[in-house]
Chain length 289, copies 2
Amino acid sequence: MQPLHLFMLDTTDPASEPVRLDPTTAVVRADDLGVTRGDGIFETIAVIKGVPQAVVAHLDRFDRSAAMLDLEIPDRNQWLHAVEVAAAALADVEGAAAIKTVLTRGVEGSGVPTAWALAFKADDPATPRAEGISVVSLDRGYKHDVAETSPWLLQGAKSLAYAINKASLREAARRGADDVLYVSSDDYVLEGPSSTVIARIDGVYVTPPTTLGILPGTTMWDVFSILEARGERTEVRELRPADLESADALWLCSSTRGAAPVRTLDEKDYPVDHALSDEINAGLDARTK
Amino acid sequence: MQPLHLFMLDTTDPASEPVRLDPTTAVVRADDLGVTRGDGIFETIAVIKGVPQAVVAHLDRFDRSAAMLDLEIPDRNQWLHAVEVAAAALADVEGAAAIKTVLTRGVEGSGVPTAWALAFKADDPATPRAEGISVVSLDRGYKHDVAETSPWLLQGAKSLAYAINKASLREAARRGADDVLYVSSDDYVLEGPSSTVIARIDGVYVTPPTTLGILPGTTMWDVFSILEARGERTEVRELRPADLESADALWLCSSTRGAAPVRTLDEKDYPVDHALSDEINAGLDARTK
């Protein structure tokens, strides 16, 4: 990622304008809980030709994460406006761009959140979309019902405490793979470190439910809409790793990469449906909101 | 905590002097992986009358965490020097003080870590030491052997991704308690969100082993030394929650609070051994290194 524009938000005055700063400016104090504890939340919103994608779904999820971390629910108008301002600043960017919205619990003891929107040039998704990605499954360590039994483990919240997600991607790289698909300790298919999985099984496009402590996919829902518009059947239901054996196509969906077809999962090869993947990604890139 | 002195470290030049800044200066960029992913490590070192406590144990653990996160191992001399400089700046502080050492993976794509030592006034430990603390046990969600089976989950690393620890403490507060004792999903006693547990069972002082994916306690080892010096038996072995039923005293040990006697765990009252707790904490406060 290449940071391009930075906008700080004053959450104590939701009507205030975002303050534009040089994106290389340091903005977080050494005693901000965002950096000392990963105590905060974020979203990454793709921007195509100045149009931020799936903004409502992202800001809904931002609210959901805030509630799970006992943070004050972000002011919707303030963040919508910040995203619009940041997206407008990205209008001239060629290729993939995105906005990261961040809300931390703020300086310890202050009670005042730290908040910003960072507009950046994202990695080019062309290669993973066209060639597919190799994926390894990794145990996430938790049981499938952990979000219900142990909400303090914050499963399903998009928090800043993502060191495990990065460590999982390094483990994938060590195994020669591009990405990860998490599985629960009791063998339910979950999600990727920053993506939602879709499997085509017996002609039905299936994704696991958020009751498994996974994030509600923002891109995934738009992929489902594209599929449904062409008459395909979609379904949200629990999947076991064994169910993926009978899948004839898999995708990992995320904001800036779109729908990346899975070429291999662990030792198994999956056919890449190039035509459909291209159609889905063209549909994603053509979104007007 | 009240930040008093901030020292930035240039890890690309280990011989360089720490740079002193106003502690309220923003020092972290919006694209630093420390704040966007909690991708970094820390230690909190107590300072008593200008003397940093258990520095070698802390810096050993800092190295261990770095290795687990695939960060370059911190230069020992550089960090020792930074801790000494920061501790000297705290020499005149009345009461509890501490230094937080932080190393992040740095700005995304830069390959250059961000590093600092923050010297601060800590919460006064007198009340928890004297009156004891109330504790609830919470499921950590992982099995007892997760560190061995799934190292990408970073159990046993003191990372900046501590949102779960803070959420656990909020859950404890909701239940009217001061602190948390984590238990594995398969019922092994682990540790607190920022402490090591010691249980006195049949006259033996017992703490669980780090093979359970818990941090090597720094304060705990000095407590064991104090106990051994007075002729007590200490032991590192696995404990089940049922074993704590037969304990006649419990402590949670951490850097700035020292050995806090547990007054209640879940629904059970534990006698507070005031005389021994005072003796242990006096011993901790008298450390010269």
